[in-house]
Symmetry: C2
Subunit: 157 residues, 2 copies
């Protein structure tokens, strides 16, 4: 059955209603936070276009829009990392999504090899923070050179 998103016609309905009315930005994308349902850790921050969102809703498998490769990217095609969606949350103005996922296969979600993309944090210094990073994951879960052999690195300067 075709999935149709209803039109955004009132702020009240968007904020307090029960109709899913996702807002895509001027590039047709909506930001997505992906969380490991087992330990509540944020795994990654990505984007979906309308098609990727519909495919995710239908199949319960994470689909994203790859901004570097400019195509739909089903999370598992190249990496063997499966994200099975258990819950989809939307925020107040419906312009951001949270996916809760159960990982299977390689239990990691970061192309650099770590479990989470957020494997570094700012070092504390005095009353604030410095601009030096410290690692909060000590060991990679997989070797990206083996898994992504020959594929372009999505990280851009």
């Amino acid at each position: 059955m075709e999935i149709i998103f209803s039109k955004r016609t009132s702020v009240e309905e968007v904020e307090e209603g029960t109709n899913f009315q996702p807002k895509f930005d001027e590039k047709g994308l909506i930001p997505v936070i992906t969380i490991d349902t087992e330990d509540n850790q944020v795994l990654m921050h990505g984007y979906m276009n309308e098609e990727a969102l519909k495919m995710s809703i239908k199949t319960k498998k994470s689909h994203y829009w790859s901004r570097s490769r400019k195509k739909i990217w089903k999370k598992e095609e190249t990496s063997g990392i499966f994200q099975n969606i258990t819950k989809i949350q939307i925020d107040d103005d419906q312009d951001c999504i949270i996916l809760f996922v159960k990982l299977s296969g390689t239990k990691a979600s970061c192309h650099v090899g770590y479990k989470s993309c957020f494997y570094r944090e700012l070092e504390k210094k005095g009353k604030g923070f410095s601009t030096s990073l410290v690692f909060n994951e000590n060991k990679k879960v997989f070797d990206p050179e083996k898994v992504y052999k020959g594929l372009e690195n999505p990280t851009k300067l």
Copy 2:
């Protein structure tokens, strides 16, 4: 002391290094996920410009860029909701930030009155999801009409 972000000159350094080299998009913004340090719940998804990020690092108080009001927005000015930053994480390609915050004052972060902006989720249906939303917070923490009296609603159609 002035905070300076070093230039992004190599993918290896961005991904595996210890220099904080945040990437701002073509609008000068970086997305920010804000998490309650007490229960790991995602409270909100916002944006910072370079100045808001530097002010957050310096003061350990959340500063964002308001896309609707087009100005820096210190989280507490209007709402009495304080976000005290305990940790700042950055992702692999350094184009997204997580703030871990301790809430004080009104223990909520959503302008609609709920604790988290993500107070709704897609209803489960068959093997996937429907496009009907169900609420996962049953009661508002505060009355937005009292707190934001006379201010423009940031939610846009």
